[in-house]
């Protein structure tokens, strides 16, 4: 389980996270929605210990991430996989070397075994026989799928997805969504997906959270978010240009409707 309590993070005067509280139980697929630049990726980076919080804490199975030393943090990270927005594949390596890097580093495998596991993971993301290609030879969708194969190479308990469908055409985006869903079901992974793509969120999420002004504004099921009366949630879901999300007046000043929560 991941428990985020009162998480705050600012960059200079810019407050990005202003007391985020969120609990993610094992096996769930949670989607964190929010506008671009709203702190979603920052939240993910706190979960995996890439950033240090100004206040508050993130606990993974009772272990406080911010309190770990570098060695213990590295051990904890072996239980995580992360798919980056632009895939973040290592340009200097082949696809096979990218996917197998963590296996070579942390596992006791022979080269032939690593190659076998890498091929198996690449088949899971439906990209067989591309181990010897370079990332520069791949399309955007293929790069994301290789990134996904790399994220699940060590069979992690948790996978974090940072904008998995951004920059992809609708068909490729849906292929990624299907993969995320399939992998979660096949490997029983706890998934945290950060996105602003509503269609993707509805497909992959058991639970939706909306991050707004550094706080969780909504937390509930995909059905509940569609039925929400909160003008902030409604504007985001409908993608309207006008509304509290884009107004200069702080919508947090207005009374929020009672949370629908998970039913």
């Amino acid at each position: 389980m991941i428990a985020i309590t009162g998480l705050k993070k600012s960059f200079g005067d810019l407050v990005v996270l202003d007391g985020v509280d969120l609990e993610i139980t094992t096996g769930q697929s949670v989607v964190v929605l929010g506008r671009s630049g709203g702190g979603k990726s920052v939240l993910l980076k706190h979960i995996i210990g890439l950033m240090r919080a100004d206040a508050g804490k993130v606990e993974v199975d009772g272990v406080e991430v911010g309190a770990l030393n570098y060695g213990d943090l590295a051990k904890l990270r072996q239980r995580f996989g992360m798919l980056f927005q632009m895939a973040a594949l290592f340009d200097s390596m082949t696809v096979g070397e990218n996917v197998g890097l963590a296996l070579r580093e942390h596992g006791n495998f022979k080269d032939s075994e690593v190659r076998g596991i890498v091929e198996q993971k690449l088949r899971l993301v439906r990209l067989p026989d591309i181990q010897d290609k370079r990332p520069s030879d791949l399309s955007g969708g293929m790069r994301k799928r290789v990134g996904l194969a790399r994220a699940i190479a060590m069979e992690p308990d948790y996978v974090l997805y940072d904008e998995p469908t951004t920059g992809l055409d609708p068909v490729t985006a849906q292929q990624i969504n299907v993969l995320i869903r399939d992998l979660q079901e096949q490997l029983n992974i706890t998934s945290i997906v950060v996105t602003h793509d509503i269609a993707s969120a509805e497909y992959v999420g058991d639970r939706m959270c909306l991050l707004f002004k550094g706080k969780i504004r909504f937390d509930g099921t995909p059905e509940a978010i569609r039925r929400s009366d909160d003008p902030v949630v409604r504007q985001f879901i409908r993608g309207e240009a006008q509304g509290p999300l884009t107004e200069s007046v702080d919508p947090l000043e207005a009374p929020a409707p009672p949370p629908l929560g998970l039913s």
């Binding site: 890439l50 570098y70 990270r77 992360m82 980056f84 973040a88 290592f90 890097l101 963590a102 580093e105």
Partner: protein, 263 residues
Amino acid sequence: MAAPLALTGGKLIEIAAGAGRFALFLTALAREFPAGLRYHRLFFEQCHQIGLASMPLVIFTSLFVGGVAALQSAYQFQGYIPLIYVGTVISKSVFIELGPVLTALVVGGRVGAALAAEIGTMRVTEQIDALETLAIRPIRYLVVPRFAAAFFMLPMLTVFANTIAVLGGMFVAVNRVGLSSVTFTRGMKILFDVNDIYGGLIKSFVFGMIIALAGCYFGFQTRGGAEGVGVSTKRAVVASCVMILVADYFLAEVIFRLLFGSA
């Protein structure tokens, strides 16, 4: 009155913060150094990049450095000093100063820029974050092999540079100044001290460290996108060139005054 003070204070804080970041970087490198040496393949790849791939540039520049040194010294000596001393001046100046320093400056420009651009691009495309999420320590994996390769390859390049520069000097002395090769070689033997070669090579070890540190440090500090990579690259080249010349003075004091006591 307050504005200039604030500006000066701000600059001082910036400098202190930069010094602190560099000290932390050095500490991390020292801590990771022994463990990072196990990445043999990366070390040899970097030896190729830093050493072998720099060879044509070093040979070409050294040839002209030796040539111009012969031409200039013959011009200066004419009518005052016997031309046999052209060989003496070439060997002394090349082994002590021109070989190590000019090799470091040429390689510093090439390699310092390449290291900063490569690591900087990895930083802005989240590849360094990806390494962290795979529980791989970026300093250990990226910096140690590059640092070790630069440390060992600079002296090797300097040996080649010294040889080529002397041969270039001899070629010009024979063909343009009118000395015989025997006279040139006899001139080289006058005042020859093997410590000149050792001293120059000791300097080149230090220059190798400076080049790797500047390239890797500024690469790691990269922020933003392409512009940030450009800024880091420029800073790495400027810093390595300036530090090589500053270090050259202090090394001359230590090596040739204190250690060998001949200056």
